[in-house]
């Protein structure tokens, strides 16, 4: 897995360097103007967060039912990344909303549920840190519940009338916006993969260290 790291790192770096150029050349949106360009980082952050949640949830399920420590290490790495990308989405969103809606935040269905999803994964990390022995299984359950909540967050804009734009915005992107958006999405997903590999490597090293300590005690 480590051999792939270098090329992915280079590719991601290159994509992130090119991204601002593509975004600057994209057309302005008719009602929102310049501030709409936050879209090109805001939505990909949330896509990366959903990817992190999927990885965390599935790895948590594997660890819970099959008792695999490798799955547990993957789950904790993915949970940290879910918190990271969620935080990015929750900061870029209000910055856009301040100009587009006039308010930093509104307690509508989509925003509230997105915040709650972030809180679920923060609680995952807290359980792991402060739960004591056996907290890996408890946290795995939390991760699984987080995965279960995430589809509700996605469809919340379709069910309720919210101030947040609908899911139909992305499939109906016109030519000028389509390119930069999907370029940034791929860049963010590659970044997620990169950071996941990095963090999982750390988790593996920590496990190796624990084994060395145990071997030392014998």
């Amino acid at each position: 897995m480590r051999k792939v790291f270098g090329p992915i790192c280079a590719l991601t770096g290159l994509m992130f360097v090119c991204a601002p150029l593509l975004i600057a050349r994209a057309p302005y949106e008719s009602t929102m103007g310049l501030v709409q360009k936050i879209f090109y980082f805001h939505v990909p952050s949330w896509m990366a967060m959903y990817a992190a949640i999927a990885v965390c949830g599935i790895a948590s399920a594997v660890h819970l039912f099959k008792n695999r420590p490798a799955a547990d290490r993957l789950a904790v790495s993915a949970a940290e990344l879910a918190v990271l990308f969620g935080a990015m989405g929750l900061v870029t969103g209000p910055l856009w909303g301040r100009k587009a809606w006039g308010v930093w935040w509104q307690w509508d269905a989509r925003l509230t549920m997105a915040l709650l999803l972030e809180l679920v994964f923060i609680s995952y990390l807290l359980v792991r840190s402060y739960g004591g022995p056996g907290s890996d299984k408890l946290a795995a359950t939390v991760g699984l519940f987080g995965l279960a909540v995430s589809p509700f967050v996605y469809v919340s804009v379709n069910i309720w009338r919210t101030v947040h734009p609908l899911n139909t915005v992305v499939p109906t992107l016109r030519a000028g916006m389509f390119g930069p958006f999907w370029f940034c999405s791929v860049a963010f997903l590659l970044l997620f993969t990169l950071l996941l590999m990095l963090r999982t490597n750390l988790a593996n090293e920590q496990a190796l260290l624990d084994d060395l300590y145990l071997a030392d005690e014998e």
Binding site: P20, F41, R98, K99, L195, E205, Q206, L212, D216
Partner: protein, 99 residues
Amino acid sequence: MMTKQSFAVVGIVLLSAQLFALQAPSGQTPAGQAPPGQGEFLPVDQLPPSEQLPAAPLLITAYAFVWIAVFFYVWTVWRRLNKVEAEMRVLEKRQRNPR
């Protein structure tokens, strides 16, 4: 003596507060710049561009936050990895030497 001093301090504070209060209304309307009281409010649909919230600082803050968050996270992983590797080296040295 303490009570006389405290009375004096309180007296000075109250006096200066009254003086400030008397000055305040006249201080806020320098001569010739105060507009006459408005008789009616006129509604307008769109804010003039000079009054609208500038978008550029928000955009820059958003992008800067993403970059900073990513680098901060990479730095924390790097820091933890260094700690783990240092401990591993200590352990390996200890395992190699006093056998």
